[in-house]
Amino acid sequence: MTVDEAALKERARAFLAEHDPAATEPLDFLRARFDAGLAWVHFPKGLGGLGAPRELQNVVEGELDGTPQTDVGKLAIGLGMAAPTILIFGTEEQKKRFLRPLWTGEEIWCQLFSEPGAGSDLATLATRAVRDGDEWVVDGQKVWTSGAHHSRWAILVARTDPDVPKHRGLTYFVCDMEAPGVEVRPLRQITGEAEFNEVFLTGVRLSDQLRLGEVGDGWRVAQTTLMNERVAIGGSPVRRGGGVIGVVAETWRRRPEIRTHDLHQRLLRLWVETEVTRLAGVRLREQLAAGAPGPEGSGMKLAFARLNQALSGLDVEMRREEGLAYDDWTFRRSDSVDFFGRGPGYRYLRAKGNSIEGGTSEILRNIIAERVLGLPSEPRVDKNVPWKDLPR
């Protein structure tokens, strides 16, 4: 039986009648919500969902508005990347063990992919995982790991076979961030604070039960994560005039003295670009809902990065004297990205990461050119060479 909007409304109301949010501990409320299948309705029954169409999530959110919520910024990697990957590649036990506390926020996740020697060329990574009976012993260094300092688990890609070409010798794991040998050191960012970290893995022992997917199939599993990451970063819905343009427009309206012809023209251009990008996102979601995802998804993150950077730059410039100031350079470990809670200088600097994190804009253009437009790849020297023989 498929779940429709009316049935979902009824279910959400019945749930509320049984669990008074005012009289229930927030965590208990969230756990019960997960168990009622109202966490992410497109997930299967028993795993926080009802096997319903993804777009019906809005119905639930509408009904449960004002009830306890999780900090989605802090949970972004878990919700956006780990969960969809576990859903596709995890064993039944792994799904049962990980998804509930991931969704309720009891366990935070981070992403141990990038390394000092492997960023855009992720498949060249060097962190080794060597089998030892029922366990794997992991050694290596990861970098730019957002939120590692408060994470319980990580998604990890490591090299299990250095003798085959780079894409083929990788395996995907869930890494226990509390295991002996895991060391997290903060990395200060251009904003002053530290969202991301270096993570050193020294003789870390992971049970084979923590492997996700087959040995040697890590690249394919990682692709699922990365596709979801780009959708998560690029696909968030906003209303017309909302988001960053909303913040800029608000200042513009409130302070007539900052207006110049030049700024006006640039602001109008960016307003239009924001609106057409929003509409492209609306169209993309319609395609997804109709079961016909278009290739448009690959472009959304590219468009959002450019817009965020242009708008946040304009915001600093148009404030003049105020743009010369900065709110706070204190070196601290941040919980999540407080984009709108901070000042324009912070937004300007943080937006610089938008074209780097989750695949750089250059890499995204390569992907569009090759996978969407079908243009030939650059001549490559690394495809059929065993990883250990590659120049580094």
Partner: protein
């Protein structure tokens, strides 16, 4: 509301596309622009009558199809993709909408003849008029609409009414050279004039597939079809909003053609399409077109439902005009020398795109309108 294409819309598209593939390949269009008139009367007959595009926007009780802006938009995408030299935009969208909005008996009579495609009409205003130039005309101290002849004193061309006849001149009129009937704004009202009673002088035009003309009236007999100019505004709004779909079609042809060429063309012992600087430019262009499709669909949908029209049209025009020009310019550049030849059809697209950028308001005109619509006012005292 939906930004996707319905099944009916896809069927209409397929019918138009098949016909154009057969009857309007680039070589045919290239040959036509060398002849006396670029318009393809036989092709127009097939489109207008057999597929029924002439009556698309005409109500069913007047023998039209009673379809909406969404269907017309799909037709325009295909016509843009083939730079088809037929008067669909000028007659079946602009002139038709003016008459549909006017709704008078005279207007309805004309619509019944337009529906079958037997008669073709044109709106006798400069193709460079924007929907907002009508706002100017309502306040006397504001600048005049493009195409206006200062001597005659009305912003809508230099046309005066006297004893049921029109006299004056309108410049840069699109579609007049193939029109049987001209719909003419004069003295705050709309008139219908038989083209045979006016002098239509084609100008040497930038756009070879949709040339403009100067239209001169000397005591031309005229019938009033609307006592006000509101139908004109409705026509310009619809025309501007739907032009975005034509621009989308132009841009898509340019991208597809360029991608195919750079995959084939070899230099330095590899396809030039494997060079990253070209790949990145084409990826960016692709994204602009993704956004253009969403914006054009949104405008067509808004025009069909009548909600949120002004913003949707202005956004689509502010974006799509520049995207079509960018696509055509990239198409020329990435073809190298062959892109500069008369023989290769890309110049037809470049000329259409550049003319379309000016038609019915430049992107800047539409951004100016958004300053008001989105409440983003300019500097104080401006």
């Amino acid at each position: 509301m939906t930004l996707l294409y319905s099944e009916v819309e896809e069927e209409l598209r397929a019918a138009v596309r098949d016909l154009l593939a057969d009857r309007c390949p680039p070589a045919t269009v290239l040959a036509r622009i060398e002849s006396a008139s670029p318009y393809d009367a036989d092709l127009w007959k097939a489109l207008a009558r057999d597929i029924g595009v002439a009556g698309l926007l005409i109500p069913e009780e007047l023998e039209g199809a009673g379809a909406s802006a969404r269907e017309a938009a799909v037709v325009l995408e295909e016509l843009g993709r083939a730079v088809t030299p037929v008067p669909f935009l000028t007659s079946s969208v602009l002139a038709t909408q003016a008459l549909v909005s006017a709704g008078t008996d005279g207007a309805r009579e004309l619509l019944a003849t337009l529906a079958s495609g037997e008669t073709t009409a044109a709106l006798a205003v400069s193709f460079a008029s924007s929907p907002y130039s009508l706002e100017w005309s309502e306040s006397p101290q504001s600048p005049k609409a493009p195409g206006a002849d200062t001597a005659a004193g009305t912003p809508w061309g230099a046309v005066a009414v006297e004893g049921g006849t029109l006299s004056g001149r309108v410049t840069a009129v699109a579609g007049a050279d193939v029109a049987d009937v001209l719909i003419v704004p004069a003295s705050g009202a709309l008139y219908a004039v038989e083209a045979a009673d006016a002098t239509v002088t084609p100008m040497v035009s930038l756009d070879l597939t949709r040339p403009i003309s100067t239209v001169t009236f000397i005591g031309a007999p005229a019938r009033q079809v609307s006592s006000g100019l509101r139908p004109l505004r409705a026509a310009l709004d619809l025309g501007a909003g739907l032009l975005a779909s034509e621009q989308l079609g132009v841009a898509e042809w340019c991208l597809t053609t360029t991608v195919a060429y750079v995959k084939e063309r070899h230099q330095f012992a590899r396809p030039v399409g494997s060079f990253q600087s070209l790949k990145h430019r084409l990826a960016d262009l692709w994204m602009e077109i993704v956004q253009a499709r969403a914006a054009a669909r949104n405008a067509a949908d808004a025009l069909a439902s009548g909600t949120d029209t002004a913003t949707a049209v202005a956004v689509a025009q502010a974006w799509c005009g520049a995207v079509a020009v960018h696509a055509a310019e990239e198409c020329v550049q990435l073809h190298g020398g062959i892109g500069m030849t008369w023989e290769h059809p890309v110049h037809l697209y470049l000329k259409r795109a550049k003319a379309d950028e000016i038609a019915l308001g430049t992107p800047g005109d539409h951004r100016d309108a958004l300053a008001r619509l989105a409440d983003l006012p300019g500097p104080l005292g401006s």
